[in-house]
């Protein structure tokens, strides 16, 4: 070995021995619901501040449904122990709730909680299988994290606010905003009639579109994966990672509903189905390998059609035709 290369090698070895390896892990309290810090600069709430006179304001009721952006205040005239406010937006919106001023007695048993989804009769939408977060992370309590994280975001177009105020005179004010969601997954439809295209771009997730009416669904186009595998089993779509199912039931939880139809193959051209249940759901299961897309329309079933279906059907589960 020549002198210069040896000298270089020795220098390299010396410098390497002087280095020490350190490992760091970033402990980000990254909750999907509420971004903070750097991310809040990029959030669209800052960009969409309306001037003061254009902000819609009204008082909240103990049981209320809100679909319009604005600032809402609840003032307790008497102890209110079980109150809930439902928030709903367009299918391609996500909900953002910001605590403006909260005057409640946290230690006295009061609470103000935001739930990422809707809960009705103990059933949640989206179900645990369709939502990325575990159940306890979908509740965001003001008394625990509201001061540090005043903005709570939902993952879909519905959210709820639960509150309990023991003293008269307690009040709180929240600002409700709707933000754009480019790939909506898990939607509750505001109307019994409409159309929607659900796209899952190579994500391993399940998405549900819930229509809380008895409707006739017409699927215009279904694009699952890139190649049709002929080795699918005859009995439903079990085993394939990408499919669309039509569910019907009388609750909000899609995992407790009955499958009305399974669609495993891509097709073009309308396919119709009438589902006579209180809640009709189009659910897409995606493995993450492909871009899956389904386009469908839906219209309300009239009373006569429902009667006809009831006459034809012998099953006890909600009607289908």
């Amino acid at each position: 070995m020549s002198g210069t290369s040896r000298a270089q090698l020795c220098f390299l070895l010396l410098s390497v021995t002087a280095l020490r390896g350190h490992a760091r892990f970033l402990d980000i309290q990254d909750n999907e619901i509420s971004p903070e810090g750097l991310l809040s600069l990029l959030s669209s709430e800052l960009k969409r501040e309306l001037p003061e006179e254009f902000v819609y304001r009204r008082a909240l009721r103990c049981l209320d449904m809100v679909a319009v952006e604005g600032q809402f205040t609840f003032t307790a005239e008497r102890p209110q122990l079980n109150c809930a406010v439902f928030f709903i937006g367009e299918p391609s919106d996500i909900i953002s709730i910001e605590y403006d001023s909260v005057n409640v007695d946290c230690r006295g048993g009061d609470f103000v909680k935001v739930f990422d989804g809707w809960v009705m009769k103990g059933e949640k939408f989206p179900s645990a299988q369709d939502h990325p977060l575990p159940l306890y992370e979908r509740y965001s309590d003001y008394c625990e994290t509201g001061v540090t994280r005043p903005i709570v975001r939902s993952s879909q177009n519905v959210a709820m606010l639960f509150f309990r105020l023991h003293q008269s005179g307690s009040s709180f004010t929240v600002t409700f905003r709707k933000l754009i969601n480019p790939f909506p997954c898990n939607v509750v439809s505001q109307t019994p009639e409409g159309s929607f295209t659900m796209i899952i771009p190579q994500q391993h997730r399940n998405c549900s579109f819930s229509i809380i009416y008895p409707v006739e669904i017409q699927i215009g186009e279904l694009s699952l994966g890139q190649h049709n595998d002929l080795k699918r089993s005859i009995f439903g779509c079990a085993g394939s990672g990408d499919f669309v199912e039509l569910l019907g039931g009388n609750g909000m939880d899609t995992s407790k509903m009955f499958p009305m139809a399974d669609l495993c193959y891509s097709f073009n051209g309308p396919a119709q189905m009438k589902v006579g249940c209180d809640n009709t759901v189009v659910r897409m299961v995606s493995s993450g390998k492909f871009v899956n897309r389904v386009s469908f329309q839906y219209r309300l079933l009239g009373h006569q059609e429902l009667q006809q279906m009831k006459g034809n059907s012998v099953e006890d589960v909600c009607l289908r035709a």
């Binding site: 280095l19 892990f25 254009f54 809960v119």
Partner: protein, 222 residues
């Protein structure tokens, strides 16, 4: 060669003072052999010793020379870059302590345990589960120390938890206890009522959107 054997000077030297010099020479070149160079006054034994030392040192010197030539041959055949990479990788792996890379360590689990025990042990079912899990955990970790002191847990279905799942089960338990703390909040509404509420909210939204549009158009139209 400094470390060479000075056997050639040996026979010409005197008995006492003289032969200390080559031994001293030997000692200076091979310091680890100083223990061997004790008092050898007998010339024959010393000769033997010197011969063995010389042989040993010459052998070692020969071996060393061989090794260096081999090494040089190896080094010269190998390109400098892979050699450098090999050495740096060896040095770096010995310098990074692996424990600092692991975010989950025992202190974290202990703090979780404390949290579970102090804050959430109010509920009966949860405290029972906590007790069982704690017992398992302690058994597994302290079982080696306590010989034959294993308690029998009657009818506990998950007693055969494998150790990789141990951490997960403890975390699941803390999560489960957190979940139990939340009151089961739900609203009993019929779908009929929900639909009506949605209708009313939509009408309000459309009315408000129309108001906003009117205000914007008034602003623009001025």
């Amino acid at each position: 060669m400094r470390s060479g054997c000075v056997l050639k000077n040996f026979s010409t030297l005197d008995r006492d003072g003289g032969f200390r010099v080559p031994v001293a020479l030997l000692l200076s070149s091979r310091p680890q052999m100083s223990s061997h160079a004790e008092i050898h006054h007998d010339s024959s034994s010393l000769a033997h010793f010197a011969q063995s030392v010389c042989k040993h040192s010459s052998l070692q010197v020969l071996l060393k020379q061989q090794k260096t030539t081999e090494k040089r041959a190896a080094v010269s055949s190998m390109k400098p870059v892979p050699l450098v990479l090999l050495i740096t990788s060896v040095l770096l792996t010995t310098h990074i302590p692996l424990s600092t890379c692991r975010p989950r360590d025992l202190s974290l689990m202990n703090s979780q345990l404390d949290d579970v025990l102090l804050n959430r042990a109010g509920d009966d079912a949860v405290s029972y589960l906590v007790g069982e899990k704690l017992l398992q955990y302690l058994q597994r970790n302290l079982g080696a120390q306590k010989a034959g002191g294993v308690l029998h847990l009657p009818h506990f279905p998950t007693a055969q938890l494998r150790s990789p799942h141990e951490d997960n089960s403890l975390e699941e338990l803390t999560e489960f206890s957190k979940r139990n703390d939340d009151p089961p909040i739900s609203i009993d509404l019929t779908f009929h009522l929900l639909r009506n509420m949605i209708e009313m909210a939509r009408i309000e939204n459309q009315r408000e959107q129309a108001e906003l549009n009117r205000k914007y158009l008034d602003e623009v139209g001025k």
